[in-house]
Amino acid sequence: MIRRAAALPGQVAGAFARLDSHHLNGGQQLAVKYFAVAMVLFLAQLLFGLLAAIQFVWPGFLFDLVDFSVNRMVHINAMVVWMLYGFIGSVYWFLEDESGTEIAGLKWGETAFYVLTAAVTVVVLVYLLVQTGPGNDTTRWLINEGREYIEAPRWADIGIVAVMLVFFYNVAGTFAKGRWSGISGVLTLDLVALAGLYMAGMFYATNITVDQYWWWWVIHLWVEATWEVLVGCIMAWSLMKLLGARRRIVQTWLYIEVALMFGSGILGLGHHYFWIGTPDYWLAIGGFFSALEPIPLVAMVVHSIYDSGTHNFRSSNHPALAWIIAHTFGNFLGAGVWGFMHTLPQINLYTHGTQWSASHGHLAFFGAYATINIAFFYLAVQQWRGNVWMGGNLAHGWRWKWAMGLLNFGVLGMTVALLIAGYEQSFIERAVEGSTWSGYFAAQTHPWFVQSMVWRLVFGLMTLAGAVLLTWDLLTIGAGETRAALVIEPESPTGETGTVAAPAA
């Protein structure tokens, strides 16, 4: 038994080593490991989301075994972690290309990956098997910190910060050793903010208002500031790779988007401070800056149309480009439209914490983050196979198209179902019944709400089917493909594009 346990780390490392490909550099080998775990967590996220959705329809389902509170927690935590895995993997993927040198301290990076993956596994097992504690320091350190969305126990918090510091050393050290660029400068500064803001969720205040005040620094300033910038860096590099867009252009746009994102997003934090006991001026600050938050998203739509027009949709990887287009519009609709619909305090008074928030959350997270990660997975698998053809007439091309269709329609369907439920809750529970307990139950049992939950489950199943098909496609796409990828050279200043076929490795 002990011998078997001692052999386990070696077996795990051996299993991951099978993902290595001689077509990849050191950073890319590590990135593929991150992507593999990200996909596993993505499927876990959908599975636990589905269990939670079933419990909305049949409340007794798995009662006292895996309660709704646990399912919801694992669903959301798995989402946060798989997205981070995708972002970290994407950065490792282009680090050597962007810096022109080998990664500084790659061995540390590999060790950090195994430490993080082991920690995530242990945390999830504790969530599922232990679930709760007496609510003292032992609970906080070993079981659950009790803070929504960042429930990881304190030991895992410290581990996450340590891993992030190693990741930061890999990134900053590599650029310092090689060459800096606009993308690398923005990325490095963003990682400082990303790691620093996580610290805001690692101390307690006895006053709930103060505690929530700092907690939102992690949630909002990660998701609506640092993550968006991180995605901007990944997007900039992807556009150069996919469309042959020129560095000067994507970097200029990266600066513009960063300025707009931070300009509106940092004080947009105020929309979370409306009802937690903070001073009244947050109503004005939150309302005003939240109204500005869609502007960078509108800018992205205009710019994507402009770039698509100038490049005539010519790309080396059709699935990746399709997912990047889905990202542009998903980000705009999910974060922009669904966000602004209920961000002014005059209406947020009713919608706050209803299924309306869940509707916005589903479309915004999928549209802004899941899509860009999936696009990058396709970029990675193309190189992993030896830079093979991924344009038109792709063998089994229906798989990626159907996966994309099922995932997008599934999430959009869930979003609309939750929107109807949220509207009904805002109206009946909040506006008519005045946020009373009887109002809460009246809203939860209303036919609109009940039917919406059924539809959410149906579209959730569609989403899961899309994710399973996506997994199958990522595992098989390009296998047996003998044609070389279309290589799109960056455009010359005269506007001529050199397009040559690279030899298949």
Binding site: M341, Q346, P493
Partner: protein, 115 residues
């Protein structure tokens, strides 16, 4: 302090807020397409989309009781959503200026459609 939305204005407020962003994006899209493809006819659609946005701002202002200093938010949305797509297009054109001669320079917009 804020004055909450009336019950009868609930649905209207949600859709007005959504229509502001959708109108803004449609205006930006049509404007960019019109300028890129030199299709003045599309400018009509761009301004129609902006009109939808303007009406939506007016409805939101009324239903959400955006009074006092909140009025400046309505004004900022009207001005911002009108100017931002133009500024963004100019940035696009300037950043791409060296690589694509087919794009008309911002200083020569297509002819406005005659009413």
């Amino acid at each position: 302090m804020i004055q909450p939305v009336e019950l009868q204005d609930f649905l209207l407020t949600f859709f007005a807020a959504a229509a502001i962003i959708l109108g803004g994006a449609s205006y930006a899209l049509c404007y960019a397409w019109a300028r890129l493809g030199r299709r003045p006819g599309l400018l009509r659609w761009a301004y129609a989309a902006y009109a939808v946005l303007a009406v939506s701002v007016w409805i939101l202002t009324a239903t959400a009781h955006l009074d006092g200093y909140w009025r400046t938010l309505a004004a900022a949305m009207l001005v911002g959503y009108f100017l931002a797509p133009r500024a963004i297009f100019r940035l696009c054109a300037d950043t791409h200026a060296a690589e694509d001669d087919a794009v008309p320079p911002p200083s020569h917009p297509p002819q406005e459609p005659s009413p």
